[in-house]
Symmetry: C2
Subunit: 352 residues, 2 copies
């Protein structure tokens, strides 16, 4: 593999000094970019794009052509694992993801097999390998997975949900069955992320999109415990470098200390958390990634710049900050505003 030319992101994750705060955006390869929409139209539906190695590689690199990003993130979906388990993932226009065969009963869960990435999800590792080659050392590549709890909600509900009625009913009435499902998912995620690391992912992020819907006690038992298991099971050193792990629980601002206690390297913060307060709570245990409200990107350039500066100022001096949005960028954002955002991070961060 070619030498890494920009290691700002990796250094910040390990809480080492950097010249400027590194920045990337969740969902940076996405619908706000016209060149993404063009490739997507060529590929057909969303999963066909994920499964087409060349096109997945192409869209992964698109934001790097436009902006001075400090990391690339594999273009894929968080629901590839349940799809590989045979649940039949599909997307209907204007709606979220759906499964043809949701998981509802003990028999459904018994029938699930822990995935073998090499045979079941080779399209993902193929994409990772190709992206690393095409990146040619420009920036590091992030691999990712959904958290077991987040995957379980989609698998049980069969789709997105507001209140997770079925998943929470299982959690409270059949906790051992829920644990059985989460255990299979955690083992699958470990296999999946380790395969991504072997294929070339230099950092991995676990997206716990729906952990924040749980009570504090249920979060610890049904979401964090399985992310802990994953952190413990990941390859920690590969190709001469540590492989940092980022945990992101949307709505998890109350639980940062517990998350930092897993041994992960960084926490993703959504915008509800004051980054200054977060920093004083987690101390020097982890780096922090975040946390501008993506809605700010709808505002005028001057507002974007002042919001960037406020977050940089909140984190203050010292290592361990990766700038990001508090959640994925939305399709309605003007790409010129993204440039303002990325440039503002680099411009203003030099002074901290």
């Amino acid at each position: 593999m070619s030498e890494l030319k920009n290691d700002r992101f990796l250094k910040a994750l390990m809480r080492q000094p950097v010249d400027r705060t590194p920045v990337w955006m969740m969902r940076q390869a996405g619908r706000y970019l016209p060149e993404y929409r063009a490739v997507r139209a060529k590929a057909g539906d969303f999963m066909s794009l994920c499964k087409n190695t060349e096109l997945a590689c192409e869209v992964t690199l698109q934001p790097l052509e436009r902006y001075e990003m400090d990391a690339a993130i594999l273009f894929s979906d968080i629901l590839t694992i349940p799809d590989a388990m045979g649940l039949g993932l599909y997307f209907e226009t204007g709606e979220g993801p759906k499964f043809r065969k949701p998981v509802r009963t003990e028999a459904d869960i018994d029938a699930l097999e822990v995935i073998d990435t090499a045979s079941d999800l080779s399209y993902v590792t193929d994409a990772v390998t190709m992206i690393r080659r095409e990146l040619n050392g420009r920036v590091p590549l992030i691999g990712f997975s959904g958290s077991p709890w987040t995957l379980a909600t989609y698998m049980i509900e069969g789709q997105s949900s507001r209140d997770f009625a079925r998943a929470k009913t299982m959690l409270y009435t059949q906790p051992e069955l829920m644990h059985q499902l989460l255990e299979k998912l955690a083992l699958s995620v470990i296999d999946y992320l380790n395969a991504q690391i072997r294929a070339g992912a230099q950092v991995v992020q676990i997206f716990d999109t729906w952990g924040g819907a749980l009570s504090h006690a249920a979060y610890a038992e049904f979401s964090l415990a399985y992310m802990q298991k994953i952190v413990d099971g990941l390859i920690s050193h590969h190709d001469g470098r540590d492989v940092p792990v980022i945990l992101f629980t949307k709505g998890g601002g109350l639980w940062l200390e517990k998350m930092a206690g897993t041994g992960c390297h960084a926490l993703g913060l959504d915008w509800s958390t004051d980054i200054a307060a977060a920093k004083s709570r987690v101390g020097d245990r982890v780096a922090l990634q975040g946390n501008m409200d993506p809605a700010v990107l709808r505002a005028d350039p001057a507002v974007i710049e002042s919001q960037v500066d406020a977050i940089l100022n909140g984190f203050g001096a010292g290592p361990g900050h990766i700038f990001n949005l508090g959640h994925g960028i939305t399709p309605d954002i003007n790409p010129d505003h993204v440039k303002v955002f990325i440039d503002a991070v680099h411009k203003f961060s030099a002074k901290y």
Copy 2:
């Protein structure tokens, strides 16, 4: 007015000792009750039920006939104020509330007038008066309003929203315009809640359903500041008693100290907050109301009882706890499970 026979709720709000932890449920008069559905069918649509004094009174009292609740809450909607401002509130089956005339421009906001409850919302104060008479001192009556920010989101979006794109765009690009709207709403809420207090509401709760969608800085400036203004503007003593104020920001667990600093008497907690941690954070400044996940009511009675006990145990000894759910009860809950819940609170709380 007749003498209050059960003042457990009022005492707990003032952090005075009680024999058993008082309990009520957000949305306790609601669709999970067959007798509610019967009255609702008679009334026609939801707003017709709210505007019919006799029927609104009848459904307010229904849960008290079934369960040993320690408080009644006025049956109404949080969107009565924007409806009275002329936005044309309506409900479509299977969807949330909608407005015929959403507020989008400076001219729209200029045209809004602070409501005069006596002339614009007399159906609400009439209902309060009748409910107090019919309650005949059994338990105290809670009045309520949506928070200015929460009302503003519906008024600007014209309906429920996932990401509040329009409201946040206004907040970030035209903050002074947003402040103008919030100021009119805060003055309206003060008038509205004071009218409810004069009509007989013995406690008031402010529902900040969407405050948790804001960044920590935007929450302070655009939601909490206006709830502060309301707390400052409310009648603090009426009919020989203090009038306690409860603030509830869903998803506001990170901001409890700030909320307690407004001078309110109690904070509503959603289920993401550990009540033991909340108690140690706010100290003796406010009482705490909550915070069981409503999803627990779908589980078996033994699970409901153990979850109730865990929360009582979390709060521990000492005054200032009102048991509640972390959000409204959902329509699919078995009414027998509600009885298990209410009885468990009374049964287990005596030991603390």
